[in-house]
């Protein structure tokens, strides 16, 4: 019989059931990241940093050594780890509240210093863990518990495009935005992870992958409609693609 699906459980991922809601993008992204590291044969030489957000518990599921960081500070923590173990794969895994709000300073400065680790940035346009407040990435008109009539430009400004922002920084060598809303996009997301890890292993500078992801719980949508919403609302505002890559690969 031919296998049509090979589980990565027990390799890159642990056997633990996740605490994520049905239809949450975190699960898919965990799997892609850990599969990629496992395929490089580097699970034993990888150190990750989990954020404060729903994925604070990522270390329960990702089968590598990890630590938690205070809200927003993961890039500073990853900097410290990478300086001690320059030959290991080091990554931070962060949500959009964590990275683009409270932790904007740390991410910008890690990129500026050209830190040789990779950040996986999960943009679900909302604060998940705290129950659906507006994030810096919340779309105009999108309802949240602190913008019950929808986000308004006059009050909260326009949603921030983190990949485009980081791409302007010299030390950021690889920056790509992907989405995990369709099987085709999921495959592309994995390639992006691989390229980012390759840049890290070649010690070229800071690498960054942004994932457009779903939060059905706080969007008030079914899992299927949440994936549709990513395609219909997020991708038009947050275009997918590579914003920065090493010269020779262009």
């Amino acid at each position: 019989m031919k296998a049509i699906y090979q589980s990565t459980v027990g390799e890159g991922l642990t056997l633990t059931d996740t605490s994520y809601c049905p239809g949450c993008g975190h699960g898919i992204i965990h799997k892609l990241v850990m599969e990629s590291i496992a395929e490089l044969g580097k699970l034993g030489e990888t150190i990750g940093v989990s954020p404060i957000g729903c994925s604070v518990v990522a270390h329960e599921y990702m089968n590598v050594e990890m630590c938690e960081a205070a809200h927003g500070r993961a890039p500073a923590v990853a900097t410290g780890i990478k300086r001690v173990h320059p030959n290991h794969i080091v990554f931070s895994y962060q949500g959009d509240g964590d990275l683009a709000s409270i932790g904007m300073t740390e991410i910008v400065h890690a990129a500026m210093r050209g830190e040789k680790f990779t950040t996986f940035f999960v943009n679900n346009a909302i604060y998940g863990m705290t129950g659906g407040q507006m994030a810096p990435t919340t779309l105009l008109g999108q309802k949240s518990t602190t913008s019950i009539d929808g986000r308004k430009k006059e009050i909260s400004g326009m949603p921030i495009r983190v990949s485009e922002l980081l791409a302007t920084i010299d030390g950021a060598v690889y920056v790509e935005r992907v989405a995990v809303n369709t099987p085709a996009n999921v495959r592309k997301a994995k390639q992006a992870i691989k390229r980012a890890l390759d840049v890290q292993q070649r010690k070229l500078g800071f690498s960054f992958v942004e994932f457009l992801s779903s939060c059905p719980t706080n969007w008030g949508l079914t899992p299927v409609n949440a994936l549709k919403w990513v395609g219909e609302h997020m991708i038009p505002y947050y275009p997918l693609g590579i914003f920065k890559q090493p010269e020779e690969e262009k």
């Binding site: 605490s19 994520y20 863990m129 719980t217």
Partner: protein, 177 residues
């Protein structure tokens, strides 16, 4: 002088919190002292929700309910978790549409309420919580029926008024244990 401790548990979408709040609100309107305490945080993500309500003639010191005179369980996981929380001699109201396991305790009163089915019959499948509320109020007299009816009219007003009639039916759906 009396104090009633109520614990209500179920899954996220079952209207557990609304049931507790309605009970607390009606008790306050009746001039009683009352506290309402919901569970909060990551626990809810796993899909369970619970709340406790204390209704008393005198000031309530602590809103936390460790043991309750009235326990309401709306689904199987909360039945497993809270069957033991009923005070001996207390009442357990269980949603028999979703809970099939036998009750092991013999020192309590048990009321099986086919809540989802009765709600469907009333024309509003989502209102199993209101069916259950009707059952508790009718069986225990913890608050007055007519005051709950008044509160329901307030809750289902404005845009939600279209759901009023069905919810009033749901509230009356359960007749007897």
């Amino acid at each position: 002088m009396s104090t009633n401790r109520v614990m209500i548990a179920g899954s996220g979408g079952q209207g557990i919190i609304l049931m507790g709040k309605l009970l607390a609100y009606v008790a306050m309107e009746e001039g009683k002292e009352v506290t309402f305490l919901p569970s909060y945080g990551a626990e809810m993500r796993g899909g369970t929700a619970n709340c406790s309500v204390i209704i008393s003639d005198r000031p309530i010191s602590c809103p936390v309910v460790h043991k309750a005179d009235i326990v309401v369980v709306m689904n199987q996981p909360s039945f497993e978790k809270f069957e033991s929380a009923v005070e001996p001699g207390g009442s357990l109201f269980l949603n028999s549409t979703l809970i099939k396991d036998p009750v092991t305790r013999t020192d309590i009163e048990i009321y099986k309420v086919d809540a989802n089915k009765l709600a469907e019959d009333a024309g509003i499948g989502r209102s199993a919580n209101i069916v259950m509320l009707g059952a508790i109020v009718r069986q225990t007299g913890i608050v007055k029926i007519e005051n709950v009816t008044k509160a329901l009219k307030k809750e289902f007003s404005g845009k939600k008024v279209v759901y009023l009639d069905a919810n009033l039916l749901a509230f009356q759906a359960w007749k007897t244990g």
